[in-house]
Structure formats: structure tokens, C-alpha cells
Symmetry: C2
Subunit: 265 residues, 2 copies
């Protein structure tokens, strides 16, 4: 779709969900895991379960993709669609499915260089009803990304209003301390990333580590031997610097990335 018929509630209220899928030679990685999260989102927003139609449309788009091109990004959006004026959705909802594929120049078999970081000024609001799902109300992330642009850093750590570490702007955060791999509990905000789930359930155990979900703060980060973040496009990316603190140990991040590459081949 190159134009969205108006009215649409995604425009009006950010009323929808999305997934960012990495395509490898036209093949979406961990597709079912993205669809599982979509399912939780559809339930949270009380939208009809249109995943079968979304699946079909994804397959249709994939058939048109040049499989020789090694990497691309697919944004899959499920939006509430048209409706009457006002906040209440139509009694009979007709969600729309939007798919947009963007080619990627980066070679995703190479880990991204270690990132420079700031701490986002904005503190994420606590909203358990919308936590973990990947909905389209993302102004907090937009504001934090503007800060990263201005400060010319690669990413920002994001805290909640109780000064607890939640994530980075576009990804989940992990730290290694005293041989333990830690990641923030996501109760009141943050997105439950697909790669976060893979690290917890599969990749960390495969390299002999258990992930502990915990309440973490900036001092925990500062006392960590290693810090990295995860998202669907970079898989895992080491953190190099926050202010005058440097991390040069990226062993766990390296090992997880190698584990991911094994799965890829």
C-alpha cells in the first residue's frame, strides 16, 4: 500500500501494532515469535485476531522480493482501520495490514560496532496495560531518538519514572556482572523484544548462562563488566561508552552473536 485511505485510527490515535522483521535472502527471521507478540498486542487492544490474513499478506509480499539481496527490513503493521469520529472503535472492526520492505546495506552477519550511549532525559511512563506489546504510541521513543540525534550518540538508555533501567530506545538491554547476565524486568513499560526472548530462552543457555530478570538502575549499569543491547535488526550490539565510562569487554555479546550466526546458517 502506498497510500492509506482516511480516516484511519492509526493516524488519529496511534491505534495499532507493529513488528520490525529482519529478512535474510527474502526469509523473515523468527517470524512466529513476532506473530506471537502480535497476538498478545491484538488481545491487549481488543482487536480481532487478523493474524491469518497478516500471514498471507506477508507471504504474498515475500514472493515478490529479490532473494539474491542478502538483507532487508520488513515493517508489518496491523492497524485498527477506519471508524467513526471519537475514541471508541467501530462495533465491527476492519483492521488493515500494512507491509513495507526497505533494503538494508549493512551486512548483518557482522556485529555492529560498539555503541556510544546517553541516558534519555524523558522517563518512560508506567502503563502495565500496554507494557511489553509493540503498539504504535511511541512519542516517548521519538523524543528520546531526537535527543540521541542532537547528542550524536548511537543509542540512549531509557529509565522509568522510578529511575529504573527499562531498555534502550529501540531494543532491550543486558549487563554482565560477576558472571551473571541481567536484564530489566518489564512490568510497567518497555517492549518484550523477540531477541530478548531468544537470548533468555535459547542463546544464553546455549553459551552456559542463565538470564536473570531484575530491577536494575544506572549504578548497576556502571558496575557492570559488560553491557549490550538487542533488537531485531542488530541482534546484539555491544555498548562502548556512556559519558566517561568505557566498556571494552564484549565477550558475552560476541558469544551470543556467534550463537545467532550458527542458527542462521
Amino acid at each position: 500500500m502506498t497510500a492509506l485511505p482516511l480516516p484511519d485510527r492509526s493516524v488519529d490515535f496511534g491505534d495499532g501494532l507493529f513488528e520490525t522483521l529482519l529478512l535474510h535472502r527474502g526469509n523473515p527471521l523468527f517470524l512466529e515469535m513476532h506473530f506471537t507478540r502480535l497476538g498478545r498486542g491484538l488481545e491487549a487492544l481488543a482487536m480481532p485476531d487478523c493474524r491469518p490474513a497478516a500471514h498471507q499478506q506477508v507471504e504474498q509480499v515475500l514472493r515478490t522480493i529479490d532473494k539474491a539481496r542478502p538483507w532487508a527490513v520488513m515493517r508489518l503493521s496491523i492497524i485498527r482501520g477506519p471508524g467513526p469520529r471519537g475514541y471508541a472503535p467501530a462495533q465491527h472492526q476492519h483492521p488493515r495490514i500494512l507491509i513495507c520492505v526497505t533494503p538494508m546495506d549493512r551486512d548483518c552477519t557482522k556485529m555492529s560496532p560498539a555503541a556510544t550511549m546517553s541516558v534519555a532525559t524523558i522517563r518512560l511512563a508506567a502503563q502495565p496495560a500496554l507494557a511489553q506489546i509493540k503498539h504504535m504510541n511511541r512519542l516517548e521513543q521519538v523524543l528520546a531518538a531526537q535527543q540521541a540525534q542532537v547528542e550524536q550518540v548511537d543509542e540512549c538508555f531509557v529509565l522509568d519514572q522510578a529511575e529504573q533501567l527499562v531498555s534502550v530506545i529501540a531494543g532491550n538491554v543486558f549487563l554482565v556482572r560477576a558472571g551473571e547476565l541481567l536484564t530489566p524486568l518489564l512490568v510497567d513499560c518497555g517492549v518484550a523484544g523477540t531477541r530478548r526472548r531468544l537470548i533468555i530462552e535459547k542463546w544464553a543457555p546455549a553459551i552456559g548462562l542463565q538470564v536473570r530478570e531484575a530491577r536494575l538502575t544506572l549504578p548497576d549499569l556502571q558496575s557492570a563488566q559488560e553491557v549490550f543491547y538487542s533488537n531485531s535488526l542488530q541482534t546484539v550490539r555491544p555498548v562502548a561508552r556512556l559519558g566517561d565510562q568505557y566498556w571494552d569487554n564484549h565477550d558475552v555479546c560476541d558469544a551470543l552473536f556467534r550463537r545467532y550466526l550458527e542458527e542462521l546458517s
Copy 2:
């Protein structure tokens, strides 16, 4: 515009602002007040000040409107527009202006009948960076409006996570107690309504009342002699019932509505 060219960041992230204007014989009521709030929103989201262009487009649309039709609603949206993939906006932003006019059958010189209410289950998240402005991240309101539909009430009172009264889903709330007119302070969430501002600055003083902005809770509501809410389409609307509590005194609401009608004529 009947279709929005994609990509657009309003669809992707709810990255935009809107105003709901009541049109009386093709004339938008309190237009400058809506534009003042838009200005605060544009600043909060670090968007270019495209109000002059929005003004022009509003005037252009108004010229096409049948002035014989007494009432209509104009939704004016300023959205961030296209941009690269990811949360960060384009360095050179090109906001888009969307205007949608919907005819209204209701005679807006008659006050709406007193409303039946519930309390929304969802508690609004505290986000001072986005409080008061009318941005497009409105999933909380969508979820609350779904509840109102299911419970077949006209509106819901909405609380924040500290159980403080904030507003109704689509409007600001006022209560009368011991001769005092009270409305919630809007510090961490809620929208600063144009009619709320008119009541505070103009209409309440004109009927001999000063509005006190205060921290209020459900018990304050329950001990009130009169409760009403305000928004751009209904101006003020009395509240009749919440659960087994009834309010049959609507004197202040009536007087404010008469004051509004004087201004209209």
C-alpha cells in the same frame, strides 16, 4: 486529503497532534485557543511551527463549507509526515496538515442530557513531557472508550496511577462542593481543554465563581453537590449518575452553558 501517502510517522508512531473544532455555520469556535494549544504541542514534540500553513488550509476548507448547515466538527491534525525508518525524525521535517469535516446532527445550542458514567479501569500513565498537549498517542483513551461501550455508559471518569482524578475520556471534569468550583490539576497527564480554559478564565468568573485547580480523588467526586465535564463539542455536559450515586443539581453547569450561548450569539 482522502488518502495519506506512506510512510508517515503518524501511522508509525502516533507522531502528531490534533484539535477537534466545533464549527457553527462554518465558523470555527475559539480557533485561536486551539492554535495556542497546537503551538505548545509543536514545541513539546520539537516540530517546526507550521501553524501559518495550518491556518491557511483551515480557511481554505472553511470557504468550501455550506454555511447554512448549523453545526459540524473539524478535526485538524498536524502530523510529522514522512521520515526515514526508525524513531528519529528526518533532519528536515515536512509536517503534513490533515483536515476532516464531519456534519453534526445535534443542535449544539441545547445542552446534552446528563451523562451516565463509569470509572475507567485503565489508569492514565504519568508523563509530564506529554501532559496537557493534544498528541496522537491515545491508546489509553481508546481502551477506556471500549469499556464505556461495553458498559453502555456515556462517559468514564479517568484516574491516574496514584488514584487521582484526571478527567473524563474526552473532556475535563469539574465538581461543585460547598460553593466552590474544582477541577483536577493537570501536571502529569490529561489534556488541557480549550473549554476548561474558557471556564477557568472567563465563564466561571462571569457567573461569580473562581475555579480552583486541585488534587482530587473519587471520594471528592462522591461528596460533590454537582459534577459536569467539558469538551469542544458539548461545551459542558452535566453528570447524572456513577454507579448508585445520582446528581440532580446541574445549576452551575446550566449557568455556564447559558454564558456560552451568550458568547455564541
